[in-house]
């Protein structure tokens, strides 16, 4: 009997690190605003060779979105698909469980593996968000080279990350393998210190 069921609460990937409040420079408005994104649904979707058309149809049916081309992120609110490698995408849902049944829906067209807890996600915005990221990301994030609907799989401070831009304020989502969240945060806090950084409560 699972008598401890009431105690089974998920623990956020950023619980020990991205503490709400002001970090770095205190004066003036913060250059970077960080919101930990806990409780999302994430899944890797890997296309079966030759079934790409069926996959695209199934994705269209479920998400109302087309399958992104390499480097693309097709989002609709918190849901969507982010390209993450040849024939591979990261499916997003706004809440844990939102992607339940995706594997069955895509059976024969793609392999699906739950990654909801495998990746820890931060939302970054604010006037200096790009300047902060420039300190770690070797990819050109200038509006002429990158923008809303674009994604990059790369590294920050030797840590593998995936970034997708949501809007041109700009707002970025940054995903990192869960066990690295602490080290990634240490880097982010240092990189943002000169601009001032505000962490908001997890959303």
């Amino acid at each position: 009997m699972a008598e401890h069921a009431t105690l089974w609460r998920p623990r956020g990937a950023w619980a020990d690190t991205a503490r709400p409040g002001r970090h770095g420079r205190r004066e003036g408005p913060p250059g970077l605003i960080v919101t930990p994104r806990e409780g999302l649904a994430l899944a890797s979707v890997t296309a079966v060779d030759g079934a790409e058309a069926r996959l695209a149809e199934a994705i269209e049916a479920r998400f109302g979105l087309s399958l992104p081309e390499p480097g693309g992120a097709h989002l609709s609110g918190e849901a969507g698909l982010v390209w993450s490698g040849p024939d591979q995408w990261l499916a997003l849902g706004g809440a844990r469980g939102d992607l339940d049944g995706l594997g069955a829906a895509l059976r024969g067209a793609a392999a699906v593996a739950d990654q909801s807890d495998g990746r820890a996600v931060l939302r970054l915005t604010g006037p200096d968000a790009r300047r902060v990221l420039e300190k770690g990301v070797a990819v050109d994030l200038h509006p002429r080279a990158f923008g809303p609907g674009r994604t990059a799989v790369t590294a920050i401070a030797h840590i593998g990350v995936q970034i997708w831009q949501r809007d041109d304020r700009p707002t970025y989502d940054l995903a990192v393998a869960r066990s690295f969240a602490g080290s990634l945060w240490t880097w982010l806090e240092a990189a943002a210190a000169e601009f001032g950084c505000e962490v908001r409560a997890s959303a």
């Binding site: 390499p70 480097g71 390209w83 993450s84 490698g85 040849p86 591979q88 070797a138 990819v139 990059a152 799989v153 790369t154 590294a155 593998g160």
Partner: protein
């Protein structure tokens, strides 16, 4: 050095790891000879000049790539997804692709 990953665009070579010459092909199957396997595993042309070589975009999209690069100048002429190259190879008659 910068390598233009076909999917991710141009990236610093630090995102990639290197395997080596893409020319030797694994002698597959139970009929393969130990001698052929020895040559595949150990012997290299080690060319000074243009060479097709295998790189892995480990810090990016995790694709294996065939990079055509000049080992004297580092000039890169072409980068292809290794899987595409391998699939094309699989459809060509046996043997004709070795040391291409």
């Amino acid at each position: 050095m910068r390598i233009r990953c076909p999917s991710c665009g141009e990236r610093d070579n630090g995102e990639f790891s290197y395997l080596g010459d893409a020319a030797p092909l694994r002698p597959d199957g139970m009929e393969a000879s130990a001698e052929a396997m020895h040559d595949y595993v150990y012997l290299r042309d080690n060319r000074a000049g243009e060479m097709r070589e295998l790189w892995y975009h480990g810090a990016g999209c995790r694709a294996w790539l065939v990079v055509t690069r000049d080992t004297r100048t580092h000039a890169i002429r072409e980068v292809q997804p290794a899987r595409d190259v391998a699939k094309a190879r699989a459809t060509t008659p046996a043997g004709s692709a070795s040391h291409a």
